[in-house]
Subunit: 464 residues, 2 copies
Amino acid sequence: MSQPAVVPIEGGAVTHRFVSLDTYDVRFPTSREFDGSDAMNADPDYSAAYVVLRTDAVGGGEAGGESTEGHGFAFTIGRGNDVQTAAIEALRPYLVGRLMKEVLDDLGGLYRELVYDSQLRWLGPEKGVMHMAISAVVNALWDLKAKRAGLPLWQLLSAMSPEELVDLVDFRYLSDALTPQEALRLLRRGERGRQERVQALLAGGYPAYATSPGWLGYDDAKLERLCREALAAGFTHIKLKVGADLDDDLRRMRIARQVCGPGVRIAIDANQRWDVGTAVEWVEALAPFDPWWVEEPTSPDDVVGHAAIARRIAPIPVATGEHVQNRVVFKQLLQLNAVSFVQLDAARVAGVNENVAILLLAAKFGVPVCPHAGGVGLCELVQHLSMFDYVAVSGSMHDRAIEYVDHLHEHFTDPVRMHRGHYLAPLAPGFSSTMRAESRARYAFPDGPVWRAGADAAGASPSR
Amino acid sequence: MSQPAVVPIEGGAVTHRFVSLDTYDVRFPTSREFDGSDAMNADPDYSAAYVVLRTDAVGGGEAGGESTEGHGFAFTIGRGNDVQTAAIEALRPYLVGRLMKEVLDDLGGLYRELVYDSQLRWLGPEKGVMHMAISAVVNALWDLKAKRAGLPLWQLLSAMSPEELVDLVDFRYLSDALTPQEALRLLRRGERGRQERVQALLAGGYPAYATSPGWLGYDDAKLERLCREALAAGFTHIKLKVGADLDDDLRRMRIARQVCGPGVRIAIDANQRWDVGTAVEWVEALAPFDPWWVEEPTSPDDVVGHAAIARRIAPIPVATGEHVQNRVVFKQLLQLNAVSFVQLDAARVAGVNENVAILLLAAKFGVPVCPHAGGVGLCELVQHLSMFDYVAVSGSMHDRAIEYVDHLHEHFTDPVRMHRGHYLAPLAPGFSSTMRAESRARYAFPDGPVWRAGADAAGASPSR
């Protein structure tokens, strides 16, 4: 990389610098209970390749001492979390030693620097391990920026001008579908009513749907019980994992529909299990149970395949996104009418900046965004993106819901708060991305107490 | 991972096991001379995340002592080679301790195990750092298998039956374009004449084209001199890097065309620099100089964009592939008629196995394969794939040429041999992937003598 120009500026906070980029390999032994099991991911150990950006600023402002650190992470499901952590460390030279204010004042610029590193780019470009590493660092910077502004991220973003928001986006490879000028027009159109929508979120939150009932590894009785619990908790939309065995899926879908009744939306999720032909046959078999959408019917890389499936199973809609690698693939899914729901992920594409691009693309094509969540801390992150989308981009909550999984929230200092099937708007400054220090220590891999103690219990799924 | 069943078998080679997977971070300071500079990669330090698979077999057979080791690598361009190396190490548990014969007898099975690791898969799936790591290990296994068979890889593959070849391929996500049955038919059709084609390769080699003249960082005089040298060496096809500045490109293309005359094919390569609209305008401006193809006009992820460009600049053909992440994206490029040349890379997709799939897809769609090469050792690898393609898959050398860059070959024990613009068929057993031990030591990063000595000289491009 070319060394950033470092200009010493006198006076106050402008002289503060990033002093370290520290990573943590944190893994939760979720595979011991088969939580999170689906047709392609049989035994996940939900994990975070976690990063803390530290500065030499001392605490202060509304946010207290924490306002001097930015926290972020990439989500993985166990093995390879060390590789992901190594990738984050490769970005250290971009931050350490630089002026905090200069970086935070131009996060569009910093994001582009990371994506276009002339050597690291070869490892993607803009995909996989290296791109998720950029996500972790970019999100940590947004966390720090929001903490220092004393605002939750969704409100910080929602207060930015259309021009400032457009400047966050890298429009390279997008201009055949969305130009900066079109994005500006979209955002200006959305300026009216921003304050009312902020108030609506503060009063009523944002709709959620529940995935917890439907993991493949659960037996029928547990499925039925969890469906009832989801209804009792106020959810009107749930999701079932499918794709391993059609007879099982028919039986489980029947149970879910019986328990929920016709008024509840039941989405199905194949987690990339099928080829195009199989997807069509399988969904047609499940069609009598009125699935709300079919999610990840095939490879996340197969734009053309998604389009073929969408045509053939219409009017049942197709959804995808948690494994879509970047804005260029989302662009194509929208260009080919291959998806009716965009399921962006907070930590797979290059963080907030690339997700602003994806929200703008979805708005341009009039497709609702229903983010992927669950995992470790993904619910905490994506709520900010959906709320920003509602306030400043799409302006709508119609046909939109954020995935919700009741899982691992206790490890975060500002966990999501749910009420009657809705995410309540986060109020604490930052991106809700800060994991409790005790959790980072307790679940550190491989030397934290949980992994030392659990080495035997883990049995069939050693996380190395 | 689930532990592989280890069944001790008595007698001879069947009891040998893999005893280690060792990695080496090897980097060549090529940026000091601007070799390899293009519109997106200004200062590459060509590097190998190198792997050696060692067994407890002792030397023997025709290949001598080396027949007990498999060598492979992922190619990177400098920073991040350590991340790539860490990713290869994450695959260690799949090999160490396992029976060599069992693994080598079912490389289709081993490849699928690696791709479908239920946790590592999350880091892609099938793309970027983790997928290139699989490439390195799979190719090292093929190297070992070919060494032990006493054959160069292209001949080993060319001697396999259609059924054995089909078994190497993962057809998941391909069946809407190519089924196992169709692949089998293609390969059976190609069985006739295999021996004659082997003889043709041994006698005359395989056509090459030269990229060395056209790097962006070279001045006009060097461009002209290198064009003349390429012609004198027998090349009838060269390639120029374009995309940074249109006036420069017009001038350089004019020089190249003047030096080469109308009979020589001159391809142009934009290395992903453009959006769709810019690509069309730029290529139209260069059209009077009769480019043979335009390579990587835009993002390698943009199948729809490549298709739009191809339609609009026809009859000038589009080529791409060196950054195409896997067979699923190649499938779509072919389905949408987005490419007229498939430029597979030996070490970006999951090694020999996935490249067999890509060769079959290209044959199905009747599109010639002209592999990407250059870098470190990529010429050494891809020659085997093109020669296998000629013998057993496409059966043709028409409109086909392997990229050639006269660079870093001296570091390999079995370097490519060129004659009058052709690759001569490699004769040594193995995949030609073995780097000299002295080179591995001398260019080891960061502690090898070249990097210790060159820390000052590297100047603007520190490789950390």
